[in-house]
Amino acid sequence: MQDDRDTKGRIFDIQRYSIHDGNGIRTIVFLKGCVLRCRWCCNPESQEYRIQTMMVQGKPQVIGRDVTVREVLETVKKDRPYYRRTGGGMTLSGGESLCQPEFARALLRGAKEEGITTAMESMGCAKWEVIESILPWLDQYLLDIKHMNPAKHKEYTGKSNELMLENAKKIAQSGMTELSIRVPVIPGFNDTEEEIRAIAAYTRELRHVKRLHLLPYHRLGQDKYAGLGREYLMGDVLPPSNEQMQALLKAAEAASGVECQIGG
């Protein structure tokens, strides 16, 4: 246990009082580094593992710091009274947490040892052994499925989806964690009823899925691309309308047979 808490990793933010990602009031630890390069990514500063400088409101800001599990848990533990009263806890996000498997596992395990419930937002894009070693310490897996078509998936995110879909099955079958599927609804990529229905159908196949979330595209990340000196490839694409989201929600409900919701 002692050694575990000294495990080091790289994060770019810790956000307390998050109330829309998982149960209750949560603290989100954002791990740096990702395997994908989604065009709509709202945290582009999360993608590269290296420590970067990003311009924020005209001032350079260093993104990324190396910390120990102990240090992260010091902050996470501060909101324990709120977790206790709301069923909240710690959520790992990113980036893709599985890019730092030792660190992610040590964080999750440390939180569980402290009596804090855990969740992880992830694409499941890693070797199964890595995921398997994490599951004993994970209460909620918030798994992204972005598209069922491998080619389109690769075109928009940089990677094909076979491994992730395969892992989704294994996670569901393991019975070790509560699995929810999260779908970012991106105009021009997957915002047709047909595409959402395909993901929902896969969700049904997985069985053991608690919930399906449709997360409408937003433009929160736009300024960050400029801050990193990158081009925002989404152009001026607008977020999906309420009506469209409602229609997609209906489609998802019908095809998945699980509880569906818009938002986290």
Binding site: P81, P216, R219
Partner: protein
């Protein structure tokens, strides 16, 4: 498990309620003269009688003659003025300020009132009698010169009771509901009979009891006038439904408050007469209904069980009571109006909580109180919720729904802190468990307490300013000489100097409050109020003369966060890290961090320098003063001052601040709060009670901040001081849980007169059932950590626009963006605009 099962279902609003509200708010409230004229008539005729009898006779004279009105569609009647939301005046407390403001009171920015030329004439005529006879004049005579000096120099302001009645009480409504004023009168008669003519205190006691009897009769007379009026209006009424309503009103007013209430409707009417008449007797605000859901419940339950009433009609009656609470009004002087902005009377009504045995007593009416605030949607009553481990979850969720509307109600109170806190002040455990809240945040036991809550505003920043000037303010020695600040060798020495300045100012505050207390006892004893507070009848004394069982004086300090941050910055930057010298900091404060001084500030600084020079034996004439003035003005505008100020501000910015969940800083803040709360509790008041501190500002942190120079926390001169125990605006940057954790590390038990913690949320943070659940969890978790009070601004579009203009003040504002939340000020302008647009659509 609670004592009662309850029905939490929503009840719809009737058409009557919006019509009553509309009528009430149709025009600017008006000042009327009837009370002032009548009390003056009565006083002229009773010159040689004991004061308590004079008060009772005046009360009777007013109630026999003051014009009365039944407003259209009212079910609960009793109006203090003919004009809706109007106010009477109370020259026996003070009157000069109103005459001085006759021509501006209608156009002033805070709480304007219409006043007719005729009213002005009548008031002037009545006021002429009161010269030399008011409580404020007598209070001044009781104050020491140094106390008056300290007040002139804005160290504190006891303005509330200095110029007005005290109010701030909750009476035994339940006794009036049970036995009526005929029953209370009988008790007074019995007491009177038990006295012996030869008793040493016979004169005092007998005259008080006679005054109670006169007051009880007066209240009954007043209700009968309403019964008669209702009957005559019924006779004229063409609408059969309204006619029937008027007949019922007539019957109600014939029965109560003379007799005990027969059912819920009569109980509501009886309650209302008590509430209204208390305010006619004296001009005090914060006369608080308290545990309405408890003392009304037996009447409701009995009627409901016997089929005499429906939940829907009971709700409508409560809604009518809520509307009436907004019909009462009070005109304050212009400066006080800014400190109590919003025409507020702070009539605090509280629902939920425990009974004397420690069992939860949330009931149907507790839910219906929340419903009434949703239906009426007006500032009164100041609605509060008691929270403890045994509070039903559904109850808190329903309360959170009200919070979500953005009305700023209810405020939430923590039984787990307040009960032991009151016990530590001498209340029995049983009494403490039955506490309610007075005014803003002040807990007490109803019907047994004269709490003198809200006794003054004490600005904790001003003593620190005096540390930098060796006790001088505008050339006057206002505080003790604590030495030249540049010579202080250690932080301990500096902190000791602050404590000495605090101790001295606190002693003067006590002197001021006790002087005012004496004046009220001598000139404005209140027999009607005292007939409903234990143990006045047995002791034969009014509450003003120490008749209540529990006696306190609770002046409130504010600026805890500013002082914590200031002293911590001094400790770190000057004594530990030695990044700046005391001389540099003093220079920066004098020049307002190089941001320039207004002409009054320049004059104030000049006066201090001149005084220092004189004390050193130099002659300072007009020429010297002019020269100093010129050099101070030049220095404050100089490039050097500007650069110096900016550099120091940047260094201060980097010092950790209270409100960010940093245990070391928070522990420091806890200690700083003790510089006010600890010395204060050693003082006693003339009623035999002790002083107890509150830490809350009402809205005075803004106007009194305007009287405060720059402080070492980086706060610029004349800007607002932190409100209550909340962190300084914009200094808490780690979100609401971090701020709450920090605030919970203050000692809320010792501030037994109440603490106030404000948080701001966007409505979206409370959206959906899940939002409400998380919100309730946030309150519970703060209370688990022994915070005492919490209230919420669920912010509007206007606030979001303001947040765009002044992002530094809104660093902790959480907004829902899409499927997630974010700190508003971190978003891009275009996204902010987007959210504001969406807010308009009510997403």
């Amino acid at each position: 498990m609670g004592l009662y099962t309850y029905d939490s279902r929503d009840i719809p609003k009737t058409d009557r309620i919006p019509k009553l509200v509309e009528h009430l708010y149709a025009k600017l409230p008006e000042i009327e003269s009837a009370r002032a004229v009548l009390i003056t008539e009565s006083y002229r005729q009773t010159e040689n009688e004991p004061m308590v009898i004079r008060r009772a006779k005046a009360f009777r004279h007013i109630l026999e003659n003051i014009p009365i009105i039944i407003r259209d569609l009212e079910l609960i009647v009793g109006s203090t003025t003919i004009a809706p939301r109007g106010c009477q005046t109370y020259p026996e407390f003070s009157y000069e300020w109103l005459e001085a403001e006759f021509d501006t009171v209608e156009t002033r920015s805070a709480d304007p009132f219409y006043i007719s030329e005729q009213t002005k004439r009548e008031l002037k005529e009545a006021d002429a009698y009161w010269k030399g006879k008011t409580t404020s004049e007598l209070a001044t005579a009781y104050m020491e010169p140094e106390t008056l000096t300290a007040m002139e120099h804005n160290m504190f302001t006891p303005g509330n009771y200095f110029y007005n009645g005290v109010g701030h009480v909750t009476v035994k409504y339940e006794e009036v509901l049970a036995i009526g004023f005929s029953g209370i009168r009988r008790k007074a008669e019995e007491e009177l009979r038990s006295l012996s003519l030869g008793d040493g205190d016979y004169q005092k006691r007998s005259r008080f009891l006679q005054a109670v009897m006169i007051s009880c009769d007066a209240a009954v007379t007043y209700a009968r006038r309403y019964a008669k009026l209702a009957l005559s209006e019924a006779e004229k009424c063409q609408d059969p439904a309204r006619k029937q309503e008027l007949l019922v009103i007539a019957q109600n007013c014939a029965n109560v408050p003379e007799k005990g209430a027969e059912g819920f409707y009569e109980a509501c009417q009886s309650f209302w007469f008590v509430q209204q008449l208390l305010q006619i007797e004296s001009s005090g605000h914060s006369i608080s209904p308290g545990r309405f859901d408890q003392y009304m419940y037996p009447y409701y339950k009995k009627d409901l069980d016997s089929g005499r009433i429906t939940r829907e009609f009971a709700q409508e009656l409560m809604d009518c009571v809520w509307v009436k609470l907004n019909d009462l009004n009070k005109c304050r002087d212009a400066a006080s109006a800014e400190g109590f902005a919003g025409y507020s009377l702070f009539q605090n009504l509280i629902a939920g909580g425990q009974n004397a045995e420690g069992i939860d007593v949330t009931n149907d009416l507790s839910f219906m109180c929340i419903q009434a605030s949703m239906h009426v949607f007006l500032p009164q009553p100041s609605f509060s919720i008691r929270v403890w481990n045994g509070s039903p979850h559904e109850f808190l969720v329903k309360a959170a729904e009200l919070t979500r509307t953005g009305i700023g109600l209810p405020a939430y109170y923590n039984d787990e802190v307040i009960i032991p806190s009151l016990v530590s002040r001498g209340l029995t455990l049983q009494d403490a468990r039955e506490y309610n809240i007075i005014g803003c945040v002040e807990p007490q036991k109803a019907g047994k307490t004269e709490g003198w809550h809200d006794a003054a505003f004490f600005n904790m920043c001003r003593p620190l300013e005096l540390v930098f000037t060796n006790g001088l303010d505008t050339g006057v020695q206002v505080g003790p000489k604590t030495g030249h600040v540049e010579d202080m060798k250690s932080f301990e020495e500096f902190y000791d100097a602050y404590k000495k300045q605090m101790d001295y100012a606190i002693s003067l505050l006590v002197n001021a409050d006790n002087a005012i207390d004496m004046a009220h006892a001598e000139r404005c004893p209140l027999p009607f109020l005292s007939s409903m507070v234990d143990d006045c009848m047995k002791r034969g004394r009014t509450v003003q003369e120490g008749g209540a069982i529990y006696n306190f004086t609770g002046p409130q300090g504010f600026g805890v966060a500013n002082m914590a941050d200031s002293l911590y910055a001094v400790k770190k930057l000057i004594y530990e890290e030695k990044k700046i010298t005391m001389k540099e900091l003093k220079g920066a404060l004098l020049t307002n961090y190089g941001k320039g001084l207004d002409i009054e500030d320049v004059a104030a600084v000049t006066a201090n320098i001149a005084r220092d020079m004189q004390e050193e034996g130099q002659t300072v004439g007009n020429r010297e003063i002019a020269a100093i003035l010129e050099s101070v003005a030049a220095a404050s505008r100089s490039q050097e001052a500007k650069a110096n100020g900016e550099r120091i501000l940047e260094l201060i910015e980097e010092v950790p601040k209270f409100g960010n969940d940093l245990p070391e800083v928070d522990a420091f803040a806890r200690d700083v709060a003790y510089t006010y709360t600890r010395p204060l509790q050693n003082y006693r008041n003339p009623r035999g009670g002790i002083f107890q501190a509150g830490l809350y500002p009402v809205s005075a942190n803004v106007p009194l901040g305007a009287q405060t120079g720059a402080t070492p926390d980086g706060r610029l001169a004349h800007t607002p001081v932190a409100d209550g125990v909340s962190p300084s605006a914009g200094k808490d940057v780690n979100g609401p849980t971090a701020a709450a954790n920090s605030v919970s590390r203050l000692d809320h038990y010792i501030a037994s007169n109440g603490t106030l913690f404000n948080q701001k949320f966007h409505p979206s943070a409370l959206s959906g059932r899940k939002g409400l659940e998380n919100f309730v969890g946030l309150i519970r978790a703060y209370f688990d950590q022994k915070g005492s009070h919490m209230q919420f601004n669920v912010v509007s579009r206007e606030t979001l626009l303001d947040a765009q203009k002044h992002p530094e003040q809104y660093k902790h504002l959480v907004v829902r963006v899409a499927g997630y939340s974010a700190l508003f000020t971190t978003l891009s302008k275009s996204l902010q605009d987007d959210i504001i647009r969406r807010t308009e659509q009510g997403f």
